[in-house]
């Protein structure tokens, strides 16, 4: 009798562990939707561009959202603005220096102030390290998370695959001078503050 109870308890624990274990969401989107948008004010109009080569992994568990952690990386060379000459300047040695500092990244170990704001939706604050042009700084990023159960396969037209999606949205501002990007220079032409906006989707295929 005892052994039966032990077996049942072990099976139950295994099932609960398997269900509750955080899943790894891969942020290299097969549909190429992921991008970080950056905006900085300039003489004529705000310069708005995107960085499209996003990769990374986030560990997420819908039953313990606060334990979410991960790292998102962006290839600095993928920065793009609507003018190719301006893009060349932007990724050049005087600005981002994409040839030397290839990765722009954000790494966080947990989420704070987690609040449920809807079915499968949470708002939270991610505190972590943001690295740009080889300089790492602590930043606080308000984010919203949406967990789309079973949407992974549906999104790539293979509903039989199942799997979940995690959408992370957020916005934060950095000072370019803090990251060695033309500190104190040309501030009358290009604003010192850079606003970063992101809406990223990560997929976790059914195991």
């Amino acid at each position: 009798m005892n052994s039966i109870l032990r077996t049942i308890a072990f099976a139950g624990f295994t099932i609960v562990s398997a269900v509750a274990a955080p899943k790894a969401y891969d942020f290299k989107d097969p549909k190429g939707v992921n991008a970080i948008q950056f905006t900085l004010d300039s003489l004529l109009e705000p310069i708005v561009g995107t960085a499209g080569a996003v990769e990374g992994e986030v560990m997420f568990d819908a039953t313990d959202v606060a334990a979410t952690k991960g790292k998102i990386e962006v290839d600095a060379a993928s920065l793009k603005v609507p003018n190719t000459k301006m893009t060349e300047h932007l990724v050049g040695a005087d600005w981002i220096d994409a040839a030397t500092h290839q990765d722009i990244s954000f790494e966080f170990a947990k989420l704070d102030s987690v609040k449920a704001i809807g079915d499968g939706k949470w708002s939270a604050v991610a505190s972590g390290k943001f690295t740009l042009k080889g300089v790492s700084k602590d930043v606080v990023v308000p984010v919203t998370l949406s967990h789309l159960e079973g949407a992974f396969g549906k999104r790539i037209n293979k509903p039989e695959l199942g799997g979940d999606l995690l959408v992370v949205r957020g916005e934060f501002t950095i000072q370019r001078g803090d990251f060695g990007i033309q500190p104190g220079k040309n501030e009358d032409k290009v604003a010192p503050a850079i606003q970063l906006t992101f809406a990223l989707v990560g997929g976790a295929p059914k195991a």
Binding site: K31, V33, N34, A35, Q37, S42, L44, E45, I47, V48, T50, K80, P82, N83, T84, M86, S146, L148, A151, K154, R155, L165, V167, A199, L200, V201
Partner: protein, 108 residues
């Protein structure tokens, strides 16, 4: 026929004011450049920002509702294009006034 017989050298009046052909051509080119640049800028939508040669187009992913941007290869002249063209035209036009000399006055 006293008038026909009289050569300019013999005339007591200064020679008539004329403009060299190259000055007229350059002036025309300057005006044409300014008009051309303005018309291209206006025809392409009076864009009052920076010139674009890859235009962002917003799209929405239906499942995640993420708004993302794709770039369309197309030229949209901005204010920098307009101002550059107008300055170049003005410089061409103004160059025709350089090195001009007034009519020679007869020595006293």
């Amino acid at each position: 026929m006293p008038l026909l017989a009289q050569t300019p050298a013999e005339s007591p009046l200064p020679p008539a004011k004329t403009i060299a052909a190259w000055r007229i051509l350059l002036r025309g080119a300057g005006v044409f450049l300014m008009l051309f640049v303005f018309c291209v800028w206006a025809a392409k939508g009076y864009h009052q920002g920076w010139t674009q040669n890859q235009v962002p187009v917003k799209q929405i992913d239906p499942i995640t509702e993420i708004e993302f941007v794709t770039y369309e290869q197309r030229f949209v002249p901005g204010l920098d294009y307009l101002v550059g063209g107008l300055i170049a035209g003005t410089v061409l036009f103004a160059a025709t006034f350089l090195g001009r000399r007034g009519p020679k006055r007869p020595p006293l």
